[in-house]
């Protein structure tokens, strides 16, 4: 018997990003947890302000599309989230793990595991657009060294592929993406099932419930 999640469930919320430092590229393991709570977000791993903001942006974007992910927006106030990037002693910064942050958060919210042999790099906008990043060559070399099979990169970085050595281009499946929607299709092992969500109807139902009008509550929100 083993505490914690089993090996295949282990992949829920775990995403491989790619870092670029003064001494070359590196793999970045991103871990997210969802806990019963009050809508709080905790981030750890000696993260710089820009990386913390990229988690904020990822989190807000995911909240904005939550009905498409099968998650009621009101659920967010009942959960805490924790995003951690080991190892804890190494400073990390920059916005380029945005797509990976989105994927990690979506995975823990939906409970859908992330494919294990995929890595990704790309800033994310508040609309889910994949935005260009720096250090593509070093990042892809690190992915190759790390045994990654598939790497998602921003479409706008496709032009930088020209300067890559052949062994990298042959050793990796490199897929340019424009939007989070493509990332989730490629990285999650199955697609989330959307739900209907109508803010005004939900609110009316909540008010009917508060007034003890349970018949109407059902009628309004059914």
């Amino acid at each position: 018997y083993r505490y914690g999640l089993a090996e295949d469930e282990h992949q829920i919320g775990v995403v491989t990003g790619l870092a670029y430092t003064s001494v070359g590229g590196d793999l970045l393991q991103i871990e997210a947890l969802r806990l019963p709570g009050k809508g709080r977000m905790k981030t750890t791993g000696k993260l710089g302000d820009v990386m913390k903001e990229s988690i904020d942006a990822a989190s807000s974007y995911v909240r904005s599309i939550s009905p498409q992910l099968g998650v009621k927006p009101t659920k967010f106030e009942k959960w805490d989230m924790h995003v951690h990037v080991p190892d804890g002693a190494t400073p990390k910064d920059g916005p380029s793990a945005g797509l990976a942050m989105v994927t990690s958060i979506v995975s823990v919210l939906t409970g859908i595991p992330v494919r294990k042999d995929i890595a990704m790099t790309g800033e994310v906008s508040l609309r889910g657009n994949a935005m260009p990043i720096g250090g593509l060559k070093e990042k892809l070399l690190a992915a190759l060294r790390g045994g990654v099979k598939t790497v998602l990169i921003p479409k706008e970085n496709e032009k930088d592929l020209a300067e890559l050595p052949d062994n990298v281009k042959n050793g990796l499946e490199i897929i340019p993406v424009e939007h989070v929607s493509e990332v989730l299709k490629l990285a999650l092992i199955r697609e989330p099932v959307p739900i209907d969500w109508d803010e005004d109807a939900e609110e009316a139902a909540a008010q009917a419930l508060a007034k003890g009008d349970s018949a109407n509550a059902a009628a309004v929100a059914h």
Copy 2:
């Protein structure tokens, strides 16, 4: 099927501002999101204190005119707002995106998209007045380079247009504005529909409801 908003809805909350840096002018993409929440405002994108304050001022101004926008002032306590300015690694500061911030916030609040070929620059006062900005020439050059068709500038900057090269004046429709009201008329694809709002009547209705006096609640606030 694509996660996130469709292309035309994409324009809700997205506004093009104009930045002026030591190396020239640049386009500034402003993105706002409205989420179910508790009245919190989050800002990201490595924004300086002055730009954050300009978002505070924009937000308060919009709250002050919310009935004219068709939005009950009490709704603000049920929503969170997130304003992001990519890219996340580039520091941004200054008050001159005030008009764009107002437009972005109004757009997400009302759900009315922003015209895509328009850009704007101008500080905003707490009364919605357009106030003069610096670097007009560099900003307009960047707008031209970026394919913008129409640029809104503060009326008080009209005098600076004299020193602009002809190709800029011919290549752009430059519209001087004095107040947010003109900006919204030009930038939103349709006008918001105002609602009646009487703070005292609303409060009386809320109190009647709290007392279980639902007949009176309807009568007072109808």
Copy 3:
């Protein structure tokens, strides 16, 4: 149709203060807004700590006299206030806008507009006393240049008028004041109508209401 307040209402909460910097005097436009909320005070405009504290003192003083202004003290927990001093990129500091802060806050609370051709300078104590300020000469020169007609100054600065050039003394109506009460009489376009306020009776009524004793609630507080 124009968003925001009409021209004459525009004067609600807008007060002209006088600043004194290393390069001379300047006009300081102070803008206050009152919003439905929770008793929060927001201040923007790159204000230093001393100016922020002067807004705190002004706000507490106004709360302490609110029945004389026709405003129930308990209303403050239902409103947010925002005080902004454009332009947003210029640092401002010092306590000498205290009287102007009080006037601006009283104006938004009561909805009574401020006379447009008046300016004022003076620190305010927590009892509403007008306290002396520095840079009187430079401030009055700026008022004259700015088209101001009447300037309120602290009585204790009257002695500094001797060193003013005649054109300033002739071009401005300079009125020394000792207390906020005189400032409000001169700056507001009409006087507020006081209400009765008895803290203990109000509290008893609130408790009766909480207990469902609506008859008594009316009787106690009528």
Copy 4:
């Protein structure tokens, strides 16, 4: 008609302390306000951390003796307090205004005015003991210059009176004190009327009330 408190009421919450700076002694006007609120304490006047802590200590001490002052301890959660020390641009620090802070807070809580021709200096302990201060000579000179008639000093500073010039000793009534109780007797224009307070009985009454057991609530707490 004058906004704010009338002249004699003006003395409620206003106490004269004595400061000691590198350029000599000075009078320190301390102003406190009590407002309907939620138990918050605000301090303004460019106060250093030690002076802010002395206000915290004064406030806690006063709360601890509130029944002796005729004030229910539970009232503190219904009021906000504001302590301000003009002028707002001059930094002030040190613990020696402790006795004056206590006196000012007691005055606003009880509504009993402070005698106008009295000044005081002395740190206060959390038990109300008067503790010794520095700069006695400079402070008493400032009191004399400022027209003060009576000065309260800590008993432990009595030994320092030997080095004072005769004109100071003759011009001022100097009263050494050991405890806040003596300060309040001398500085307030009348004595507060104590009330009975039994924490356990109050709590039982509050719980009975919460359970709708109003007969018992009265019986328990009568």
Copy 5:
């Protein structure tokens, strides 16, 4: 008549610690107050971070043994605590007042006075263990000078007594202690009376009460 606690009650919450500074040892008067409140802890007296943390540790330890002290753990949410170390202008730091902090907090919680002629030094662990401190010699010299009769020191510092001059060893009763339990037996004028406390039964009673099931509430928790 005297405001504040009477002389013998004065000893509630007042404990003598021992400080060690670059200029020798000194007595440290620790004062605690318990006030009706909301579970807040305030600390004043220019305390460094390590001393503040030692108060946190002392407070948590005391909360963890509160039933043994006759105090329900739930009472802590109904009280505020204030720990002050005069004089307010002298910086103090270090963990060695831990045992004294525990004693002071226990005294105000239980209302049992602290013996007046006792002093103590020793860090405290989160389990109440007395941990070794530095500067023992200087501290004991200060205790002797200050008229203290009995000094409690950590057992682990017993070995340092060898280097003390005879007049100190003869002039003071020095008692080595291993745990807070010994400190409280020696320093409080009487022993607290423990109560039974069963967290689960208390919670069940609270829930029964919340459901209006007062018969069961009594039965469960009696």
Copy 6:
């Protein structure tokens, strides 16, 4: 009679970690307490940001596996936690006490004591994986000196054992671990008993209870 926990219970929440400083290895005593409260985490002992984050990660991981530990996730909002690392004056930092933090928190949550002759080192990921650390040799030497019998180290550090002197390898039982599950099996004196936990059923029961539907509440959650 002794205040605090008895000697064998003393081991609840107390774990021996291993530190590595510029002057060699050292034992690190970690102490955790669980108190009735509101879900707050307090950390003391002059801990650096990385060590604080390692406590955050440990705490979130433990919350995520709480049903396996026999603890309802909702209980966390009813408790406060305090983690302290004496002595209070020595700065400590780094992520390598992660496994020890997890063990300490699990021990206080479950009330299961920690074996006294065991020490451990290892960073912990948000999934409970043991991650490699530095200074293994110095840490094991300190464990030997400190009388520790068994040391748990991360599997990934097994390769570093080659360079250890024989006396260390012979004097200590060194057990490489990959996951928290192995650590808890080895370090706790007995295994926790898991409970069933279904978030959705719990929520439904809570809502039925809130609606006064106690029959259904029992039925749903039985």
